[in-house]
Amino acid sequence: MSNINGKVYAMNAVTPMKPWKTWILRTIFFVLGHVKPLQNDLINLSFIEFARWVVVPRRSFPFLGNGQSKEELNYDYLLFFSNFNGTWNQYIDAFSAVLSKGLNLIWRWSEKFPGSVPVTIFKEYIARVQFDTDYYYTAYPHATANDIKSAHIVQSSTDSLYLAAEEYTPEQFADAYLRFVLQVQAHLGETGEAPLAG
């Protein structure tokens, strides 16, 4: 069992919500999904590879018969899954500092949510509602979200230069190569094992 694989941490949090409140939350997510500028803080945090929220209505837990008992719940549940780079503490600290309003907007509908500031009480709440991951796989454990974004910029610039390279004279190529280096130089960070925290 491990929540960590290479440079990625898998977080699972499950919180109960009164059913009438889930419609407010669904509306908030609908707006968040359709007004892209509202996602800027989430994008700019830049250490989340993938994240999702799933609202499960109390009568919508999968029921397959075959002897399975149907759930009889009072609450709907909000499932949160995140794949982020860095440590648990860094993640919660950054969330609390940068996205406190957004987090409050999402989790204030969950029972007993204390608010994302002050961070100590927020961390206690997250720790209480978190499930450990039994198996965690990533196709690129050596890379962070920023590495991946940078790698695609390098790939695109390399492909462009390669396509045109045959057509250039050596002097033209040298100029194009210089522009290429300027484009990619900030995106050549090293991937590999994460440094160990002492």
Binding site: M1, S2, N5, V14, T15, P16, F29, I48, E49, F50, A51, R52, V54, V55, V56, F61, P62, F63, L64, G67, Q68, K70, E71, E72, L73, N74, Y77, N83, E111, K112, F131, D132, T133, D134, Y135, Y136, Y137, T138, A139, Y140, P141, H142, A145, D147, K149, A151, H152, T158, Y162, A165, E166, P170, F173, A174, Y177, Q185, H187, E190, T191, G192
Partner: protein, 210 residues
């Protein structure tokens, strides 16, 4: 559709685990035991099947009581959560799993209620869809690249850094010829293996920050 962000699919599956008093150890523990011995690197089943960026399996024993004044309640089943961030079309992804790693799928999901086995692909896909939950909001930092494209880009990033470092001050004609050879060679290499930590590279040490 909230399950998709760009070309990436956010799959969320909750499979009820068989509740059998006579099973020893219980089915959820058997799942956990199997997963505990499964590789998470190049030998991972998900590395052998196409299209998985990141995936996790979690046994959810129960819901959590967060304290008064909320009311305490419990699930009647334990659930196996399968969360996957994968390429493109759901049917293609699930049939890819069923084709590439049927033994692993069966070893895990045989402990779940109503699992039909991976041998019958259509029954497997129907089962997974019956257990699927609609994602309410799905965020992807990079949402327009496949696993293969990302692995190739990461390899290119490392190789380009080395190429630039090795070609400082080289005359234009040599630089042009060697750049063309370098990219052609890179493209001819086999695809990087998913789940790998990449080639070992010594971390450069020294300098004023140490």
């Amino acid at each position: 559709m909230p399950n998709k962000n760009g070309s990436v699919y956010g799959l969320t599956i909750l499979s009820p685990i068989i509740d059998d008093d006579k099973a020893t150890p219980s089915h959820d523990l058997q799942i956990r035991d199997y997963l505990a011995h499964l590789s998470t690197r190049e030998e991972s089943p998900f590395a052998r099947a196409p299209g998985t960026h990141l995936a996790r399996l979690v046994v959810m024993d129960d819901v959590i009581y967060v304290g008064a004044p909320s009311c305490e309640e419990h699930l009647k089943s334990k659930y196996l959560i399968f969360e996957s961030n994968c390429d493109g079309n759901l049917d293609t992804y699930l049939s890819g799993l069923a084709s590439a790693i049927p033994d692993h799928l069966d070893a895990v999901w045989k402990h779940c209620v109503g699992y039909p086995g991976a041998a019958n692909q259509q029954a497997f896909i129907d089962y997974m869809k019956a257990c699927q939950l609609e994602t309410t909001f799905f965020f992807a930092a990079v949402n327009d690249k496949t696993v293969t494209e990302t692995l190739c880009a990461l390899r290119t990033q490392t190789a380009v850094a080395d190429f630039i470092a090795a070609h400082q001050g080289v005359d234009p004609a040599t630089l042009q010829r060697e750049f063309i050879e370098f990219v052609a060679h890179l493209r001819s290499q086999p695809l990087p293996r998913p789940g790998s930590m990449g080639p070992h590279r010594d971390i450069k040490t020294g300098g004023r920050n140490e």
